[in-house]
Structure formats: structure tokens, C-alpha cells
């Protein structure tokens, strides 16, 4: 069993914060393709189109027959063959975290692999493999106990491959709406130490306010993402204490492009969802980057909750689809920047939210609690992208299979 993770102790103010080293990024196209799938929570290996042999580590051609390779989901079973404890290394991150256990496993899918070992697994054990992203965004295999063990996810090595909210302090940017409030509740349930809940207008009451105020570990903070001054002020005040940012800002209005659009609504949407995201990234990104290896409550992730229609556009909601598309582009850029500092950047995509702005949209709609669940899932698994609800899952699957067809389907 794993020792349960203790709440972090107060930092010694005379000690330097440990720098958040990350391993150098793997530059091969195959390694990056594996990383993309790891970010979706899939367990994949390359399989040869000719001899059907699965191969690892990622490469450009089949090592057996020189055939072309294709990514395929694989069974996650494996057996640990050997273990090694790394005590001395030139890698700056592992040096700080030594000793570090790795081992070789025989994958059920075929190949053997060098993998990171959970503290509860030993040579000879059957294990369940996970394909993870390391702090620098590189793919890595992690051997987990086959059956859940006590406090399994608290394993120190495993925790560096996730952004688990347990004991961490989270900023939820818009606490005035149902999504932000569902988020706060889900985070506390997942063990977050504190939730800072943004309130964009401190002089105007909002539904659910009393319930949020009553939560012992929720603190309502003034934050309006359309106001640079407000974001900067809060970042100055709390930047060094926030381990996870969850951006739930959303402005949903029905709109076409040439027909039935209101430019002021569109502008308000971009101010809040797009420029707002940049303000948050500029305000909180640097402070988080400096604390990515700061113990139990190290800064860990920046999560952006956006409409899945950013992938395709959407008839009737062209404005919001456009802001979501811009958010996806910004998040991709931010992920590249933050990978160099060990902070995970996550997109959670939602279908039509079950709220007042989608009253006329037929089901399936996405409940705020589903969005919150999807964010927690992405954090605890260390994902890069996750779909909340059936509508988003369905669209994402169609988009992966045929992006342009899906664009056509959603706009006609």
C-alpha cells in the first residue's frame, strides 16, 4: 500500500523553491503522435500494417519488416520482469526526486518496455499499464497495480504524471454560474484544499451564492476576466498560492454569421472567453510556472472549459463556436509554453450546456456536474483533452474520423 498523501506543511521561507525541471521534449513525429494519444487517455502502440506486430518505443518503421506503422488501442495488461532503482542520474528532474523506480515489463500487446513503476508493484506482478504524459509532455509508460491498492493514486511517482486536485488550491474563474459552482463542489470532493471562486460583480447577488459561501473551503474572490486590472490584482494577491486554474468563463448567445448575429454579443463573448483566457494565462501562468515542483501542492495545471463546437463551428451558435475555436488555438499555444515549465494545459470540451441559453436545443445536453466530473477526470489522469457529456464525445469521435465532414454536418 501507499502511504496516504499528507497535507502539505508550511514552506520554510528561508529555503529556495525547487525549480521545476522538465525532461527535454522528444522531437520525433512518432513520439509526438504517441503523446497526443496519451493526452486523450488512450493506451496505444504502433502496429505494423504488414506483419501486424506491435512495437515500442515509437519509431518510423516496423523493426521486423520495415513496414508502415499505425497507432492502435492495445490491451493494458503486462507483467513486471525486472526493477531498477535510479539513485544517480544527470536528468535534472529525476536527480531531485531520486530514488526513482523503473523496470522492464512484458506487455500483453507484444513488446517489452522500460516503464515507471508504482511503489506497490514488484517483479513478477501482473500490472495494468497506463500511457501517461510526463511533465514535459512526452509519452511514458507507467505500471500500476492490477487491482486498486490503498491510496494508490497518492504514489509519489504517479503523482508527477497527474495534476490530481488532492491537497491543491484551485481557482475557478466564474463562480456566478452553475458550471463554476458544480466545479467547486467536485473539486472539494476530490480533495482540493481550497477553491477560490471568482465573482465578476461583487455588488450583484447570484443564484447559489449562499450555498457557496457556506462551504468552509470555498473563498469567493473578486475576478472579472474581462477586466485586466481585476485579473492582475488577483494574480498579484493569490498567484503564488494557486496550483490549478479552471477557466469556466462562457458567454453563450444564439447567433449566425451574416444573419441573426449581434456584434456586441460577439464582442462580449470574445472579451470574456478569448481575451479573458489570455489575461488569465498572463496573470497566473508565470507564477504557476515557478512552482511546478513545489512539493505536495505544487502548481500543476491550467484547465480551459470550452465548447466542443470550436472544432467545427455550429449553426445557430456561430459566435460561441468562434470563441471556442480561438480558445483551442490559444490553449495549444499555452500548452507548448507551459510544457517547458512542467505545467499541464488541459482542454475540456462540452456540448450544449443544460442552461438557460440552450432552452430550445434538444437533448442530449451537458449538465454542469458532468463538466465538473470531466475536469476532475482530466486532472487525476493527467490528460490534455477530455470531452464532457455524450454530445461532445460524439462530435469529437466524428471529428477525429472526418473533420471536414463533421464541419459540414454541424453547419447545415
Amino acid at each position: 500500500m501507499t502511504d496516504p498523501l499528507s497535507p502539505p506543511v508550511k514552506k520554510d521561507p528561508l529555503k529556495n523553491t525547487r525549480m521545476g525541471h522538465v525532461s527535454p521534449g522528444l522531437r520525433s513525429r512518432a513520439a509526438r503522435a504517441m503523446a497526443v494519444r496519451a493526452g486523450q487517455g488512450r493506451f496505444v502502440l504502433q502496429v505494423c500494417d504488414y506483419c501486424c506486430t506491435a512495437t515500442y518505443p515509437p519509431r518510423d518503421r516496423c523493426p521486423k519488416c520495415w513496414g508502415t506503422l499505425d497507432w492502435q488501442d492495445q490491451p493494458t495488461g503486462a507483467t513486471v520482469m525486472t526493477e531498477t532503482t535510479i539513485r544517480v542520474t544527470t536528468d535534472l528532474f529525476f536527480k531531485e526526486h531520486a530514488p526513482w523506480r523503473v523496470g522492464s515489463v512484458q506487455l500483453e500487446a507484444g513488446p517489452t518496455a522500460i516503464v515507471h513503476l508504482h511503489s506497490d508493484v514488484r517483479p513478477g506482478d501482473r500490472v495494468r499499464m497506463e500511457l501517461k504524459l510526463d511533465r514535459g509532455g512526452n509519452p511514458a509508460l507507467f505500471a500500476m497495480p492490477e487491482k486498486e491498492t490503498p491510496n494508490m493514486v497518492d504514489d509519489a511517482q504517479y503523482r508527477t504524471f497527474t495534476a490530481d486536485p488532492k491537497h491543491r488550491r484551485v481557482l475557478v474563474t466564474d463562480g456566478r454560474g452553475p458550471v463554476g459552482q458544480a466545479m467547486a463542489k467536485a473539486l472539494l470532493k476530490a480533495g482540493a484544499r481550497a477553491v477560490f471562486l471568482g465573482n465578476g460583480d461583487t455588488t450583484m447577488r447570484f443564484d447559489g451564492e449562499a450555498e457557496m459561501v457556506a462551504h468552509e473551503n470555498v473563498e469567493i474572490v473578486p475576478l472579472n476576466v474581462t477586466d485586466t486590472n481585476s485579473v492582475t490584482k488577483l494574480a498579484h494577491q493569490l498567484g503564488g498560492r494557486i496550483d490549478i486554474v479552471v477557466n469556466t468563463a462562457a458567454v453563450t448567445r444564439q447567433s449566425g454569421v451574416a444573419f441573426g448575429s449581434k456584434l456586441t454579443d460577439l464582442q462580449a463573448g470574445f472579451e470574456s472567453e478569448v481575451t479573458g483566457l489570455m489575461r488569465l494565462a498572463q496573470g497566473f501562468g508565470p507564477a504557476m510556472s515557478a512552482r511546478s515542483d513545489d512539493g505536495t501542492n505544487s502548481a500543476a495545471a491550467f484547465v480551459d472549459v470550452a465548447s466542443v463546437y470550436g472544432l467545427t463551428g455550429r449553426a445557430g451558435f456561430a459566435g460561441q463556436a468562434a470563441t471556442a475555436a480561438a480558445r483551442l488555438a490559444l490553449i495549444s499555444g499555452l500548452r507548448g509554453e507551459m510544457a517547458q515549465t512542467g505545467i499541464r494545459v488541459i482542454s475540456v470540451l462540452t456540448g450544449p450546456v443544460d442552461d438557460v441559453w440552450h432552452q430550445h436545443v434538444p437533448p442530449p445536453k451537458t449538465a454542469p456536474a458532468q463538466i465538473a466530473k470531466s475536469v476532475i477526470d482530466a486532472l487525476t489522469r493527467g490528460l490534455e483533452i477530455n470531452c464532457a457529456g455524450d454530445a461532445a464525445k460524439d462530435l469529437f469521435a466524428r471529428w477525429q474520423a472526418d473533420p471536414f465532414l463533421t464541419i459540414r454536418e454541424e453547419n447545415q
Binding site: 455588488t203 477586466d227 481585476s230
Partner: protein
């Protein structure tokens, strides 16, 4: 020294015999704007983005881009703001003759009534009784309603939005008809977020101040401060809206000249 009205004024300003009172709230991102039901277009609050401040974007200079609605902060309502004023001549801020920008004010103090009842309604009857006590409202004056509402700025009590809407004092139709047609006012000047009462959409007709003032070519001044620093009669208000092409209103600096007591 030449002996003229303006040189007398200049002398009075220098000596302090005439003093300036700033009636303007500071334009800041958190200054409240009027709140409409969410499905309507919304009034944009004040926003400011730094362009440079002695940095790589401008090593020796500091400036900001700003954005807001025409009706954000302390602001002026032109007749075109309301549908009733859509055909009034010179009804936009760029077309209003400059002579309208300086006018005397009569200050009607309803602060005590408003403190007791945030929905206090000024009626024709209230105004005629007021005139018996303080004197007749002269023509071509701003009629300023002192509510001390400016002291609530920065709190939820300013817009005072409850589940049944906003609650703040204002006039009913009889009062506005009286101000416009019987006392020929320049306009109505208030400390609240609008010239109309918070609950005025339920009045009959709805929003009488906007409807009647602007339908008759009169103006509104809103979100003022410091009306308690003005005398009942004798203050001169200077309120020059920005010359926005076709503009329905404008944020502006509003000041009042008053005669000092100490000289």
C-alpha cells in the same frame, strides 16, 4: 482690468469667491452600469488596457486604450437615447448646441425620503409643495435630485438589485410632465444609475423620465456625486458630452460652479 462679466468670473475663480464642485464619479472597471435582463444587449462597463507605460511598447510614454458604453459612469443622455426622442431635432450629442452645456441648477433634496424608502417617488404634488417651501423652479434649469445615493457607490445598495428588480428613487410621469411643460427644465440630473426610478419599468407609462424628458428634447445626467455640496439655487452646471458622431449620450466630467461663502 476690463470690466466685464467674464473678467469678474475670472477674478471670482482666482479669489475663491466662486468655487468648483466635481460632480463626477471616477471611471473605473468596477463602476456599476445599468443592468438589463440578460437576453437584451448589455451596457459595456469601463475597461482600460495599457498600451505602454515607459516600457518596451513606449519607452518614454504612458497611455491606455479605453472602452465603454455611451452610458457608462457619470454620463449624459441625449434625446435620441429614447425612442420618444428619435425625431427631436439636434437629438444626438454631436448636434446639441454648445449653449446647452452650461446651465443653472435647482437642487431638490429628497435624501431623507430616499433613506427611508429606496422606492421613493417624486410626484407633481411633491414638487408643488416643495416650491411653496423653497420657491418656484426657474426655467431652463437642470433639476437635480439630491438622494445621497452616491454614498452607496461600491456597494450592492447602489444599483440595489433585488429579485423583483432594482430599487432606487425617481420621478413619476406627473412630476416629469411638470418639470418639462410647466417649468421648462434643461433636464434631470441624478445620482442614481438612471434618471428613472429603479422600479420605473412598472410605472404607467413605463420609464417616464426617459420617455418624457427625451421626447421633449430634454437631457439626462446620471451617476453624479456631491449634489449635497450644492446650494438649492445658484449653482451653475457645466456638462459637455463628448462630440460622438450620432451619439446617444456620453461619459463626461460634470462640474458645478458655486459661490463661496467664505469670501
Amino acid at each position: 482690468m476690463s470690466n466685464s462679466l467674464l473678467s469678474d468670473l475670472a477674478g471670482a475663480l482666482v479669489s475663491g469667491r466662486v468655487q468648483m464642485v466635481d460632480l463626477t464619479n471616477t471611471l473605473s472597471p468596477d463602476f456599476p452600469v445599468i443592468v438589463l435582463p440578460p437576453e437584451f444587449g448589455q451596457c459595456a462597463p469601463f475597461r482600460m488596457e495599457k498600451v505602454s507605460r515607459y516600457d518596451e511598447n513606449g519607452p518614454a510614454w504612458y497611455w491606455n486604450n479605453i472602452s465603454m458604453n455611451e452610458h457608462t459612469g457619470t454620463h449624459f443622455d441625449a434625446p435620441a437615447h429614447w425612442v420618444t426622442g428619435k425625431d427631436v431635432p439636434s437629438n444626438t450629442v454631436d448636434a446639441i448646441p454648445a449653449r446647452e452645456f452650461m446651465a443653472p441648477a435647482v437642487v431638490i433634496d429628497i435624501s431623507a425620503e430616499s433613506a427611508v424608502d429606496p422606492d421613493f417617488v417624486v410626484t407633481r404634488e411633491f414638487l408643488t409643495k416643495w416650491e411653496v417651501e423653497f420657491g418656484r423652479i426657474p426655467p431652463r434649469h437642470w433639476i437635480a435630485l439630491r438622494t445621497d445615493w452616491y454614498k452607496r457607490v461600491g456597494t450592492a445598495d447602489y444599483v440595489n438589485m433585488q429579485e423583483d428588480g432594482a430599487h432606487s428613487p425617481g420621478p413619476d410621469a406627473s412630476a416629469v410632465e411638470f418639470m418639462v411643460h410647466e417649468r421648462d427644465c434643461i433636464g434631470l440630473a441624478v445620482e442614481t444609475v438612471g434618471t428613472d426610478a429603479g422600479q420605473a419599468m412598472h410605472f404607467n407609462p413605463p420609464l417616464p423620465a426617459h420617455s418624457i424628458l427625451h421626447g421633449n428634447g430634454r437631457f439626462g445626467l446620471q451617476c453624479l456625486t456631491n449634489l449635497d455640496k450644492l446650494p438649492t439655487f445658484g449653482a451653475m452646471i457645466i456638462a459637455c458630452p463628448l462630440k460622438i458622431e450620432g451619439g446617444s449620450g456620453s461619459p463626461l466630467r460634470v462640474v458645478a460652479m458655486i459661490e463661496g461663502k467664505n469670501v
